[in-house]
Symmetry: D2
Subunit: 304 residues, 4 copies
């Protein structure tokens, strides 16, 4: 069973009220708790207590939490991470609101990864008895769930090794400078579910967040999100368009603090035996933005 999913994103924002207007009002996440300069949000189709934590002060990623299927696996993951050379520490129930014991891993990319098996389960908004397919009254975009995060790091190949060797992730796609032995990995999209990516890394500064993403149902919902972004003066980075990598459709946009978000839909299904796809650097424009085939500067330079 292993790692099940991206469970939470803990990020910093410069202004909590602006962030609340964005994550609550525009994206339509539900505020589930507010305390000590932190706000906790969940999306309507998530059953765990929360999936996004925003903390006043600065910008960028504090940490990511991935939920594992069984608490008895935590020790194994801890051991493998240590063997890989990572510093780890135990986290106790209560260190994170509503989250149980776990393991905190300091990645070679200087990101913090928390693994845990227990978090308070509060249910989705449609419930578990004769549910409707969605709640009748959603706010704004009405995002159903978070999906993945893309981080930057100096040594992408190293991070790919960490996630595959220590956490049993598969590699859906890989961007390389060239095919063959001399090729260097400059991007990797890895999965622990059957989706194209649960975490991804591209080459850049250590410790930085490129974006975290929400899943939307389809291409029409992507357009609807874009329309609402315009109505709500959300800064749009690029899109709507299609990614070559993952085949997904997308809009990149920024929260008021400057953290990049994504609404994402589509993408193929992966399995443990999925044959990894390779993108060569000369086709990377097409890989990232399939339709116009041009990487804008912001994509590679703006991170938080």
């Amino acid at each position: 069973m292993g790692v099940m999913r991206l469970g939470y994103v803990h990020a910093k924002v410069t202004d909590l009220e602006e962030a609340k207007a964005h994550y609550g009002g525009t994206l339509g996440m539900r505020l589930v708790h507010e305390e000590d300069g932190r706000v906790y949000y969940k999306a309507w189709d998530e059953y765990d207590h929360h999936s996004v934590v925003l903390e006043a002060g600065g910008v960028g990623l504090t940490k990511l939490g991935y939920k594992v299927a069984r608490s008895e696996d935590l020790e194994d993951f801890e051991r493998r991470a240590q063997a890989f050379g990572c510093t780890t520490e135990r986290m106790s129930k209560g260190d994170n609101l509503a989250v149980g014991d776990g393991v905190r891993i300091f990645l070679p990319s200087e990101h913090v990864l928390e693994l845990y098996a227990d978090i308070e389960v509060t249910g989705t908004e449609t419930g578990t008895v004769n549910p409707d397919p969605f709640p009748a009254h959603l706010v704004g975009v009405g995002v159903p769930r978070i999906d993945h995060a893309l981080l930057t790091c100096e040594d992408v190949g190293l991070l790919e090794r960490f996630f595959t060797e220590c956490l049993d992730f598969g590699v859906a796609e890989r961007a390389v400078t060239e095919l063959g032995e001399n090729g260097k990995t400059i991007g990797t999209w890895m999965f622990c579910t059957n989706t194209p990516h649960d975490i991804a890394f591209i080459e850049g500064a250590n410790g930085k967040l490129h974006h975290f993403a929400y899943y939307l149902n389809d291409w029409n919902d992507i357009l609807h999100a874009g329309d609402l972004f315009s109505m709500n003066d959300v800064s749009v980075d690029i899109g709507p368009t299609r990614h070559g990598i993952t085949r997904g459709t997308t809009i990149y946009f920024f929260d008021p603090a400057g953290n990049r978000n994504e609404v994402f839909s589509g993408g193929y299904i992966t399995y443990p035996d999925f044959p990894t796809i390779t993108w060569t650097a000369d086709q990377l424009g097409k890989g990232i933005f399939y339709i116009d085939r041009e990487l804008n500067d912001r994509f590679t330079t703006v991170v938080t």
Copy 2:
């Protein structure tokens, strides 16, 4: 009844074979005739003989043809155009392949407009008895029909007057430098059907083509077109995105000669009593590209 629709676009292309690959192979129009360095195309849902004529040599617009409902109206349109100050001339059956008698008007914008009531009717590909909603075997994008053209001219207000006063078009939307008496019209979107625009003008050099457009069924077809543009190495200008003006969804792209095309879908319904919408210059980015709210340079500078 008056003017019914944009009937044909006659454009110049630098290389006829490349143009055929684009209009026939990628867009999926059907080649209906080829003669003397000209190719004639129609789209599958059009019943007239052709809707696009491409002529080898150069780039840009040769002329536009608008079909009127009754041949007896041609004289009236001719008179009104002359009274407006336009030079006109009669065109005879056979001047244009498969097209009957008509009136040629030299617009104040230095574009050539042909009005005609008769053209050989060859039928749509689905026919008129128990038809399927679309042909089972389409090529490429499989565009069903042409929709409108956007031209540039020095005096947009003048052209708006011509089309409303001489040809009974309505004005769906207008872009102005500012609201009120001092506002100057810098863009106008006019209709003779119930769509948002059958012809449009924005400020620029006289005699130039900004783009001509194909109608697609919906936003999903816009994405599919974009995917095929990438597969076929079509140069994409911008999109997929939404226009604020017309509410339509769109991709702008270029034919191999550099003429801008558009695939367009959606948009509201207009009627003769439609209250004209006004866009102010400060919101024009949003008016043209609703989601990212930024006019790129190409939009205003690249014309043919």
Copy 3:
């Protein structure tokens, strides 16, 4: 210019409060006036004062109003209707709330048709200056506008003649018992706009309403409407599916009184020279419901 569009549907409902929950709550029309057992609704993208009038008591159609472009044409339509053999009467400003003078025609089908050129214009919800493509906060389905009505009558051919000869409608599609001279017209879909139908008749009892329809943007909105119908316990007749006739996508459903409504999207564009499509009786199942190709009994027997 002639007749511009279906302007209003005036129908009877057994229970006004239930009707308000349906037309206001589920469909999301805006209540603009309530007086003397009548409620007046408009949809968000309509600029006239109202488009649906519901009257307590019974079920079925009271009358349809079609707006004409110029008041000076009313007399001509009146004369032609009289020459066709119809009884007509003048209606005065105020006979219908917010509606000006007009002509009332008693159709050979025993339906009442009102023609008028003036109605108070109150504007759409997005306005005419730098408008958004839709209002941010819609209720329920959020229908943008009414689209057409389908009525039943004993002599479909006669009604087709009336609308084409007296009101200049075109015939988009026609259902016949068989091709050729012996074929009898059993259905006709007619247009005064560029849509596939502004009014339609199928064979049945005189004076009855088969359905009136709302336009939705696309097939995704049709699904969304269907989902909301389920959530709101709306009785669904059939759909979502595609019509062969008009190519549109559809759900038929019933208001609480039993009047059939439709949400409709898509369909081709018509022009005055549109070549009429013919459906033969043996293919009528496919014509009405293209995908499953089966007419259910309700379609032909349930009218109000």
Copy 4:
């Protein structure tokens, strides 16, 4: 890792040529092998050798194959199945074309289930280097992959126990006669991936196939499939519509032999900790067909 996915469906058809027209021509699967009255098909986005095997003679299901991640797990699954009381047998490389060694389990429902870890990998049609999101030239519906199968059996609860206890499947949804202790399970939707169902059972005769399904990208592709079914005279059972159970959108239809197929899209994401959804018998119409909320007779009675 365990069981990865439904790998192949092996079914009987009355006429192989008709079946080829359906699975190859209409659905657009690729014929990869034909021998001894058997045809082997794969869909364009599948990398294994084949996913559907059709065998001349009769109708119904021969067997299902599920691919497991590691051959070393086969023995464990075999042991657990035997402990559950199932008869099992070893299958050898070559028993099934292109498939390696495996375990054959005779389910308590009298269906045959084959587990295997090795099958010849022949790749998808878009490849693994700078791939396009789909092949430019697809035939018919162009289904990308098979998705799941729904079988009937006398004791649904028993089969649910088998798949959860022996093969580590999760239960996404369950239909019960009533809530509480006295409730009997009459339907179960189970997953080994992150989709809502990789296999499902409803109450009925043992050994029967209700349907097997293809995944499509979205609701628009569902409509397009329905259109092609009409053009190709495919017998449509029901749809397009939405399922309450799984939230997916669907069309059920029959192959020429009478085996029910489905095109399916959407549905939520599941994880090992997914809280099982329960449908009560009184809401089962809504659970199966969410929009019209009525089970037709065919759904429960027609199986092969």
